[in-house]
């Protein structure tokens, strides 16, 4: 077997929260040596957020949020307010191929770690900033948070129940979107550097990056001057196309009933006809109210009621299986328990990672969403404890002696 694609590539990872760590997670998945520069004096927000084992916070190493997005990375703790720490960061950059950060615009410059400075340390350095608004423009100093990017980028205005107000996407979608686009940009720049020897700086606005995946809404406006209506789970080209209630989970979780749904998309007339038979209503296949897409769209509320009358008699996995057996696109509206324990497909593909972690033990984490036939890929280690690799990185990568490390530690530079 060959080496992992990015083996030997080192990433100086100044990121935090989600977008940046999601970016460098992709590079860790590809085998890069990702070194997160952290500090106990202002720990990554995700180290302080739930979920925690048993629901009880237990220090900075116990969050499932942090532990998910920092698998396979090393952690170096540096306190930039102490002498010596910044110098160590600069020396690390000299030994790195790529520098990544998702601070607000200007923060790296103020630290003395801006691109122009870093280029002096390593002329072919590749650097990317994943800021909310980008480096230029009148709002470049505005602050951005993951959840607020969903409304900012236009996704909220487009998303909502029919006739209802704008809604969220349910999670900070623009964050991982920015992170994975950033990883693509870094790989592109690494490829270019490999061929030409030239590094570069890349400026990502997470806002813009989110609009790059919203062409349908934006082009409705630029082509027709119209704001698209909110259409819930419907689709202009398919019907039925929706999310339908099924039987609740039989087991209660924390004393609560958990409702369950199946998502269904009848891609064309033939799929609808197969579906009608599968839900025990073969007579509807020839019913003129539903014979064509136009007819089904015109009678969509009635059609949805028919589908839901059937789906309510099924569990969500049963409903999905029955429709798939009939060749109709359908899936359980998967929740975390379903994915973790009940999706036989993900199990069969060995998608999940179960590595021991010194504080939280073995916890199931999400793995690598791609497979490669010739280069080994595996999540190499659980997420690092804060500063877990400080000595290792200082000694192995920067060549510091034990005495030098001790002095720095006593000066508080390694907090």
């Amino acid at each position: 077997m060959a080496d992992a694609p990015l083996s030997g590539i080192r990433i100086a990872d100044f990121t935090w929260v989600w977008a940046g760590p999601y970016c460098t997670l992709q590079l860790a998945h590809l085998g890069a040596d990702v070194i997160r520069i952290e500090t106990a004096t202002r720990p990554c927000v995700t180290r302080m957020l739930p979920p925690w084992p048993g629901g009880k916070p237990a220090g900075l190493d116990s969050s499932g949020y942090y532990n998910q997005y920092n698998q396979g990375k090393r952690s170096l703790s540096l306190n930039f307010s102490k002498p010596g720490a910044l110098d160590l960061a600069r020396r690390l950059v000299a030994k790195s191929d790529v520098v990544v950060n998702n601070f607000a615009h200007g923060v790296m410059d103020r630290l003395g770690l801006g691109y122009e400075e870093l280029k002096k340390i390593r002329s072919d350095i590749i650097m990317i900033s994943l800021s909310g608004y980008g480096d230029t423009g009148p709002y470049s100093d505005f602050v951005a948070y993951g959840p607020a990017q969903v409304p900012l980028c236009g996704l909220s205005a487009l998303t909502g129940y029919v006739g209802g107000p704008p809604m969220h996407a349910g999670y900070s979608y623009a964050d991982p979107n920015a992170g994975v686009h950033g990883a693509f940009a870094i790989l592109t720049a690494l490829y270019h550097r490999e061929l030409t020897g030239q590094g570069q700086y890349m400026d990502m606005s997470q806002w813009e990056c989110a609009m790059a995946v919203l062409p349908e809404g934006i082009l409705e406006y630029t082509m027709n001057g119209r704001e698209p209506e909110r259409i819930g789970n419907r689709d202009p080209m398919m019907a039925p196309h929706g999310i339908f209630r099924c039987k609740d989970r039989t087991e209660k979780v924390l004393g609560f009933t958990v409702d369950q749904f199946v998502a269904v998309a009848a891609s064309d007339n033939a799929a609808w006809q197969r579906m009608a038979a599968a839900i025990g209503r073969p007579e509807l296949a020839g019913d003129s109210r539903f014979a064509t897409l136009n007819a089904r769209k015109a009678n969509e509320t009635e059609l949805e009621a028919i589908v839901e009358a059937w789906s309510m008699t099924q569990t969500a996995p049963q409903a999905a299986q029955i429709l798939q057996d009939a060749g109709v696109a359908a899936f359980v509206v998967a929740d975390n328990k379903f994915l973790s324990e009940e999706d036989e497909h993900l199990k069969a593909r060995n998608y999940f990672v179960n590595l021991p972690h010194p504080v939280v033990g073995v916890r199931q984490h999400c793995g690598i969403p791609w497979k490669m036939s010739e280069t080994p890929l595996a999540v190499r280690s659980s997420a690092p404890l804060l500063g877990q690799h400080t000595d290792e990185v200082l000694a192995q990568v920067l060549g510091l002696s034990e005495a030098e490390i001790k002095t720095l530690r006593e000066a508080g530079a390694l907090q």
């Binding site: 270019h192 700086y201 082009l219 630029t222 899936f331 328990k337 791609w370």
Partner: protein, 400 residues
């Protein structure tokens, strides 16, 4: 200056969003992309719009034009032996073949890496499918809604605990496709980079479902860490993080850090209720959201969007407007950065499109040519590139 990927030759067999977006990301950085479509109907994205004037036309779909600019367009029926042979010819001269052919169709036409690698062992072949090419769901059918639902993200969105009767709500758009596409582009570039050293190609397979499960924020881990199922009905642990109506539109109220909340309280004129113990920290504000919400909605309802947005930002509080498409196209910030690009197309006319997701310092992101008409470059690619004679081309055309 040439793009970073100008030396890469990519063949795409893509429908709708996932594989076409992966190939677009590469094309916009300079790669040569030859897009293979089915004779007759072509890529299904051609049917999806939005269309100028709302009138469906296979050459005027906004989604298609956005995803397929910078690509050469050819038609091939790869289910026919002659069609597959031509595909093999194209793949023999390519660095990357990227596709989203449904796995049972891959089996049926014999589209697999081993076969293509016999002629081109340096080929990177990327298969982007809803559930991957292996496993019990490999043959399951899926559309964007069902893939999105399979990824554990759809279940999180909805009207919240106040409206349990409303179902989970899909985010507008084709995000299962886009996320599969960009994750596929990352994996493809990983394999291309590996090939610089090994000289060998390989098969890369990308699961859209897994790409989405990988981005469940902290939510997936609520099960393995806490035995908690997270759904749209769950309470947000921190507040305020909520869309609220102003006099003239909607704004997103967002205070994550305590200093942001204190600045917001000051902005509201330090009302007495803000001193209540039940609002003392972000977790308490989450627990007592129903009480807090009443106060906030009342105050926010008296404001205007832009004024509140700018005032909050001046205090480093990360509020954001609920942007309409018009707001985006007219944004002074986006204009100054030149995000939207004007692109003329011979059939669809001139429109503004979303531009570069990343601004590169040294290697340009560029739109060099508009999206192809169906089979527009058959003569150029099959004739000039592969050296097919005119009569042979006519013969093949006649047989589809």
């Amino acid at each position: 200056m040439a793009g970073a990927l100008a030396r890469l030759k990519v063949v795409e067999i893509g429908e709708l969003v996932s594989a076409p977006y992966a190939a677009k990301l590469m094309a916009d950085m300079g790669a040569e992309v030859i897009k293979v479509e089915r004779p007759g109907a072509g890529d299904a994205a051609r049917t999806r719009g939005p269309f100028p004037g709302g009138k469906p036309h296979p050459g005027q779909s906004g989604l298609f034009l956005y995803l397929n600019a910078n690509k050469y367009g050819v038609t091939l029926d790869i289910a026919q032996p002659e069609g597959f042979e031509l595909l093999e010819e194209l793949a023999a001269g390519a660095d990357v073949l990227i596709h989203n052919v449904w796995p049972p169709d891959m089996d049926r036409v014999g589209l697999n890496f081993d076969r293509l690698a016999r002629r081109n062992p340096r080929l990177v072949m990327t298969s982007i499918t809803p559930f991957g090419t292996t496993g019990p769901h490999r043959s399951w059918r899926s559309e964007d809604l069902t893939t999105w639902s399979s990824g554990g993200v759809c279940v999180l969105n909805g009207a919240g605990p106040g409206h349990p009767e409303l179902p989970p709500l899909k985010a507008f758009g084709s995000h299962a496709g886009f996320q599969a596409g960009v994750h596929g582009a990352v994996a493809t570039m990983g394999a291309v980079f590996a090939r610089l050293r090994s000289g060998k190609g390989q098969h890369v397979e990308v699961s859209a479902q897994e790409s989405l499960v990988s981005q469940n924020e902290m939510v997936f881990e609520y099960w393995p860490y806490m035995d908690v199922i997270a759904t749209r009905l769950g309470r947000k642990p921190l507040q305020p993080l909520e869309t609220m109506q102003c006099k003239d539109g909607w704004i997103y109220i967002c205070c994550v850090e305590e200093h942001q909340w204190r600045s917001f309280v000051a902005l509201m004129g330090n009302p007495e209720w803000a001193d209540e113990e039940i609002f003392a920290d972000r977790l308490k504000r989450g627990e007592n959201w129903e009480a807090l919400e009443i106060f906030l909605r009342e105050w926010v309802g008296e404001q205007t969007v832009l004024d509140l947005y700018r005032k909050a930002q001046a205090q480093r509080v990360p509020f954001a407007p609920v942007s309409t498409m018009g707001d985006l196209l007219n944004s002074e910030h986006l204009k100054a950065r030149g995000f939207f690009v004007e692109l003329a197309h011979p059939v669809a006319g001139q429109h503004r499109y979303p531009g570069a997701p990343v601004q590169y310092g040294a290697t340009p992101w560029q739109i060099r040519m508009p999206a192809p008409a169906l089979g527009q470059h058959n003569g150029e690619i099959f004739g000039q590139r592969l050296g097919l004679a005119r009569e042979r081309l006519d013969q093949l055309n006649a047989r589809g």
